[in-house]
Amino acid sequence: MSDKLVLDNISKVFGDGDTSVKVLDRVSLQVKAGEFVAVVGPSGSGKSTFLSIAGALLSPTSGRIFLDNKEINKIPEQKMNRIRLEKIGFVFQSANLIPYLTVQDQLLLIPKLAGKRNKNAEKRADDLLKRLGLDHRRSHYPESLSGGERQRVAIARAWMNDPEIILADEPTASLDSERGRAVVQMLADEVKLRDKAAIMVTHDKRMLDLCDRVVYIEDGQLSEQPVNETKTS
């Protein structure tokens, strides 16, 4: 199987001079098509930073990133938008919905940005909303949704553009375990079914059995451990 996403020797230093913090120190990761990777680690260990770099939202201090075998860390910022729009689905740690769009419009905005709003897109939005149990909330604004509902909308939004890779930062943090598990299950199924890839940051150990692989981040280092080992630990 081909590598969907390759992170090669990524380092990230915040600030400069005396106050600089090295959050990531030459970490590497390969994610294959059809693979669902979980990232765990203590708070402040750089998980969100890692994910932002993988998602072309943050440029690394050094290192290279390949998405679908194309090196993306050399691409100028304007084209980065296009890549995020077409290839990457992002679920942020906090839902970050647009306050003045209804649930349905949050999803329809994505094809709109890509310049291809049509019946297909509406159908896709409908399907996603149904699958995430948001059908009855389609014309609500984010302000009237619960935290979990918002998070589900964010997940649906990430799937809207049919991305090659989904990057999710604690997508289940504000969901009850049943709903959370359903969401992660959905992520896993979709990844398998359509040969996509996904990286999920999570604190919830109960979700890890749905993932193919778990990686640990600590002290700027990334270490791999098989799923089984994690379960027993």
Binding site: S48, N81, R82, Y100, D105, K112
Partner: protein, 366 residues
């Protein structure tokens, strides 16, 4: 527009308030401009509307029509350069009138003209005078507010001469006084009675190009050829009054412009977070720019339309003693400026939007 319209819909109250502020500012600017313009034309509409390019004045007159004295000889000299048709004498005298049978006095300005020449005013009501009458005049319609009517007999206080108003003209004032047009027969009669004697007038109106004007200025001795706007400045009090008014309007414009620009800047800055999110999910800066600008344009245009309607509405019910003159050009200019300023305000913030790092904007949960 997808985002712009939905945001309007969701935050109705917020944008209604924004629109209200813009309406008020635009209204203020338009209304005060109209009043200022009204005041200036109330002062000097007779010169502003005069069908001439240049005025020939006596050299020592300091560009002041009422100080200048031009003789027939000088007119002849001038007419060696331009045809009789394109030059015509003008007499100007500020004086006081009384209405026959009443003690009330009004200040007026007499304009003596050739009634067949280019300075003849349009008569809006009644009849026009001709060159042969000896006691008929046409007056500016603002005299009607002072209780004068068609057919009224008026008396010139200085000469004691009596005239009959047979027509009313529109927008003919000089130094805030209504203008009364008469022919040169009557003009000479006044001045004979005045014992000043001799035929004279104050200026020669010229229809000519710049070259001709310069030529006359250089060749005819003892005269200055000045433009209409120079002549305006020579109306007693005109320059000072315009100075204050222009200052007032300029300040108003600058303050309104700054307020609007800052306003839109702040509104856009407040939404930085959302722009970050939009960028993170793949929106191009251009797309965001289009939405911001279309939002500002929609708001500004809607507010401008309302404030223009308000301005004209209020102007309509204004008493005629409060001169108000808002030309479509002024409204268009004003509106254009407002649009430009609002868009600049939002473009300033667009620079920030363009530079924003998506991840910074989202704000990391710690």
């Amino acid at each position: 527009m997808f985002l712009a319209l939905r945001e309007f819909k969701h935050a109705k109250l917020r944008y209604l308030l924004v629109a209200l502020i813009m309406i008020l500012i635009a209204w203020l600017v338009l209304f005060v401009s109209g009043l200022a313009k009204g005041l200036s034309s109330d002062n000097a509409s007779s010169i502003q509307n005069m069908n001439t390019d240049y005025l020939v004045l006596q050299k020592q007159a300091d560009n002041r029509l009422n100080r200048s004295v031009i003789s027939n000889d000088t007119l002849k000299d001038v007419r060696t350069f331009v045809s009789d048709k394109k030059s015509t004498p003008l007499g100007v005298q500020m004086t006081t009138l009384t209405k026959d049978g009443s003690a009330k006095k009004v200040d007026v300005t007499f304009f003596a003209i050739n009634t067949n020449g280019m300075l003849a005013p349009d008569v809006a009501e009644g009849k026009m005078i001709n060159n042969t009458t000896t006691n008929e005049v046409v007056a500016d319609s603002s005299l009607k507010d002072n209780g004068f009517h068609l057919g009224d007999i008026v008396k010139d206080q200085a000469s004691g001469k009596i005239f009959k108003i047979i027509g009313f003209t529109k927008e003919q004032s000089f130094s805030h006084a209504p203008v009364i047009h008469m022919n040169f027969k009557e003009w000479d009669a006044i001045h004979k009675a005045n014992a000043r004697g001799g035929e004279f007038f104050n200026a020669v109106a010229l229809k000519a190009n710049q070259d001709k004007a310069d030529q006359i200025d250089n060749s005819v001795s003892g005269v200055d050829v000045i433009t209409k706007s120079d002549a305006l400045k020579g109306i007693p009090g005109y320059k000072e009054e315009q100075g204050s008014l222009i200052m007032m309007i300029a300040f108003l414009f600058v303050i309104a412009a700054v307020v609007l620009a800052v306003f839109f800047y702040v509104i856009t800055i407040q939404k930085m977070n959302q722009f970050g999110v939009l960028k993170a999910i793949g929106a191009k800066t251009g797309y965001l720019a289009k939405n911001i600008v279309s939002q500002v344009l929609l708001l500004t245009i809607a507010s401008l339309i309302i404030s223009i309607a308000l301005t004209y509405g209020v102007a309509f019910i204004l008493p005629s003693s409060m001169p108000f003159d808002l030309s479509p050009q002024l409204v268009l200019g004003c509106s254009g400026l407002f649009l430009v300023v609002s868009v600049i305000g939002s473009l300033l913030s667009l620079y920030r939007v363009a530079k924003i790092d998506a991840i910074e904007a989202i704000g990391r949960a710690v």
